[in-house]
């Protein structure tokens, strides 16, 4: 049951990405093209997600513990550091160039076009480099 819930969370997340338009790189890039061919759709994706997750998290965290594990595993840091800002900045540049972020990139693997494999392999290499330094 533990793993079934996990698998379903992944499937629902992926279907959400597809339905919302996040797996269409051109749509993502147009969202970022504020002064050009702006497509505001992706603001609605974030709005829809937060609309559900904000009250959802609030309710869930009133529980003593999650169903299948001993405790909530949440980030506790509050400080701002160089890694956070620099990392987010670099991520945004790559997001703008390719129109893909990690979730949509992985979900798009099963569209089976060659470019996405190049993207995902490079993304994994980037993550390995970041973990080393």
């Amino acid at each position: 049951m533990k793993y079934i819930t996990l698998l379903f969370s992944g499937i629902i997340f992926g279907i959400g990405l597809v339905l919302s338009g996040m797996t269409n790189p051109l749509k993502v890039q147009n969202f970022l093209d504020l002064f050009g061919l702006w497509d505001p759709s992706l603001a609605f994706v974030m709005g829809g997600a937060i609309f559900v997750a904000l009250p959802g998290f609030w309710l869930v965290q009133k529980q003593k513990k999650p169903f299948f594990s001993k405790e909530f595993d949440l980030p506790k840091r509050k400080d701002l550091d160089f890694r956070l800002i620099f990392g987010a900045g670099v991520f945004g540049i790559g997001w703008g160039i390719g129109g893909l972020c990690p979730g949509p990139a992985l979900t798009s693997l099963t569209f089976f076009d060659f470019g996405i494999y190049i993207f995902v392999i490079s993304m994994i290499m980037g993550m390995l480099i970041a973990k080393k330094i």
């Binding site: 698998l7 093209d33 061919l37 160039i97 979730g103 470019g115 190049i118």
Partner: protein, 144 residues
């Protein structure tokens, strides 16, 4: 090229993403941050349990498109570039940046904002800003 403004499907898709994040929090107590989930299954893995957790969640992501295709019409998609070098650079920056900054659109953008995390708000503003700037330069200065 223009894309169609799709407020309804985008809102509905977003709601599903939010639902998945709440499911993951309620069941496993974890943040649905994709870069973190992937990063934690890569060596060196610090927590052993993160590996099966990550693999099963990613398997779910990979099943989404095949399941979608069974029930619905094919999805409109258009790659931004067919230049593999550019896609490789983009992938490298996305992987490095999201792992180095501990989060991407899902972890900081959706989950972090929903939890009211200051770090995530700053991260989201930062990657949105560099994303806007990048597309502006690509399209207006370099004419791509």
């Amino acid at each position: 090229m223009e894309t169609e403004f799709t407020p309804i499907t985008s809102l509905a898709g977003g709601a599903l993403i939010g639902l998945s994040a709440v499911m993951l929090m309620a069941s496993h107590g974890k943040i649905a941050g994709i870069s973190g989930i992937v990063s934690r299954i890569l060596p060196p893995a610090i927590q052993k349990e993160s590996i099966p957790f990550g693999i099963i969640f990613i398997l779910g992501l990979l099943l989404a498109v095949p399941i979608w295709n069974l029930f619905f019409v094919e999805i409109e998609r258009q790659a931004v570039s067919d230049n593999y070098f550019i896609l490789g650079i983009a992938g490298l920056l996305v992987g490095f940046g999201s792992s180095y900054g501990n989060g991407c659109t899902s972890g900081h953008g959706v989950c972090g904002l929903s939890r009211g995390s200051t770090r995530s708000i700053i991260a989201t503003v930062t990657f949105m800003f560099t994303g806007f700037l990048t597309v502006y330069i690509l399209r207006n200065t370099l004419g791509l």
